[in-house]
Subunit: 279 residues, 2 copies
DNA sequence: ACCGCCGATACCCGCGGGGTATTGCTGCCC
DNA sequence: GGGCAGCAATACCCCGCGGGTATCGGCGGT
């Protein structure tokens, strides 16, 4: 199988429409139809169910969609990493969630910079759920993730720290100064539903809370009394003046881990991981 | 990048000889030379250092070799898994080391078979260090691995059991019946060096011990007083009459884990993992 | 019943991947 | 030191295949 075929199939499987997929790929529709037919013949599997009005995935098609995405990511990663290896000054790309792990990240960068042979570290702050993809397709070398929120499937990790969580409320909320609340109390707060974060595919789950996509937006919405949030304790130092925090007693512990793609331990990456585990 | 280019590069990088690589690929040498040049141009990286007498990998070339193998495995896995998904009766392929994990495996198969909706399980016994590759390229769905011997990088795992280890000696050896020995005692045994197992690339490390590649061969060599072995306790029940075992007091604990490729939890696999964790 | 949408088919073209023949370089051996 | 052998690169040709346009066939909606 050639990557071209995989790209074609992924386009059709995502669009579920040959015409749109062809436009997205920058080719005409007929060659795309043929390519998919050829792929189906070679695999001996019907990948798509077509009527003249709709295209749907069969079960083998769903399997291939998942696998093809992973394979294309691996190919893309090979390309990117080779390009990077050929560059003269090879910075490590570290990706972290904007607004999270701030203090730990600063300490890590300091500790690593003090090591002999440390290379430049290029810190990329990105949205939720984008980190895993960046690691997988070679755009990033290493990430700071938070268990149990982020999936670490298929990545190598080292645990860095574990902490409790706090509830962030609008300033002046009745619970301000409370010695501690429970999850059930938060869920029952009148008019303050928990926010909805985008899932891996970029869509939002259903629910009453507002849709948020980054930390600043979340804080703004809290200050406006539109929502509340449960965040790791370490985020307390970064809170704005118009929100307050109270401890959450029965929150699951949050573990910050440093994660990197398997089989990719360059010297520089190994040094960074070593510095991280010594914090 | 197309998989064809990756296959070509891997062949040349492994053979370090354009002629042999071309023969292995079933094409002539000139198109292969051109394809590699084209790849180098597109990546903007010199991958191979050629003189008229030798070909060597550059550092970006070494990166690409590693990444290309992973990418090709992913593509191959996509193909195999799609084919399998299209077959009517989809057995789960479980791979275990021949001669290891025997009892646990039997219990696991029984427990899973008793579950509702259980599918057939195709047990493949293979040599050391081949299991990971079979999982990665889609020939197997799930494996029983032994930490810390097997690498579980890039795989999802669940721990099943932890046990100590024992030393297997020729029958009649002076240590027979000893209440327990230490690693230092074993290393110092006159004329009984520890065996050498093949590494991931199929070669053997240097050392005094005999080369072994499977369990039966190892037992035979022990019975012949050519070597000794350190194996998990559970292997005791499978020992032949002409060898004896004594406990090893300071051995690292061996953990048997069930492992599967990330993002590949079919219903059947999930059932098997569930049955395993309930053992 | 007709129109419009969409995937499949028919047919054509040009590029690029693959082949053979040859060159050019270099280490080795007599 | 000159000739030879081995190997990658170059030159040149060809055909298969990937891609394009035109068209068909089937089906749903109005």
């Amino acid at each position: 199988m050639e990557t071209r075929e995989l790209r074609y199939f992924v386009a059709v499987a995502e669009e579920l429409h040959f015409g749109r997929a062809a436009r997205r790929l920058g080719i005409a529709q007929p060659p795309l139809s043929r390519a998919i037919q050829q792929l189906e013949r070679r695999l001996g599997a019907e990948l798509l169910e077509r009527t003249s009005r709709s295209v749907t995935l069969t079960e083998p098609g769903a399997v291939l969609l998942r696998e093809a995405r992973a394979a294309l990511d691996a190919v893309e990663a090979a390309e990117r990493r080779t390009r990077r290896a050929a560059m003269p000054n090879q910075a490590l790309v570290l990706v972290a969630k904007a607004g999270a792990a701030g203090e730990l990240l600063a300490k890590l960068l300091d500790a690593y910079a003090a090591e002999p042979g440390a290379v430049e570290v290029d810190v990329q702050l990105c949205g939720i759920a984008e980190q895993e993809r960046m690691l997988r397709d070679g755009r990033a070398d290493v990430a700071l993730l938070h268990r149990p929120f982020d999936s670490t499937v298929g990545l190598d990790t080292e645990e860095l720290s574990t902490e409790g969580q706090i509830v962030v409320l609008p300033a002046g909320h009745p619970l301000t100064g409370s010695p501690g609340v429970r999850r059930a109390d938060i869920a029952a707060l009148p008019g303050l539903p928990l926010p909805r974060w985008p899932t891996a595919d970029g869509t939002y789950p259903d629910g009453p809370g507002p849709e948020v996509r980054d930390h600043a937006q979340l804080m703004q919405l809290i200050a406006l009394s539109r929502t509340v949030a449960i965040v790791p304790e370490s985020a307390r130092t970064q809170l704005r003046g118009d929100v307050v925090a109270v401890p959450l007693l029965d929150a699951p512990l949050v573990t910050t881990v440093i994660a990197w793609p398997p089989h990719s331990r360059s010297r520089a990456l190994a040094g960074l991981v070593r510095a991280a585990t010594r914090l």
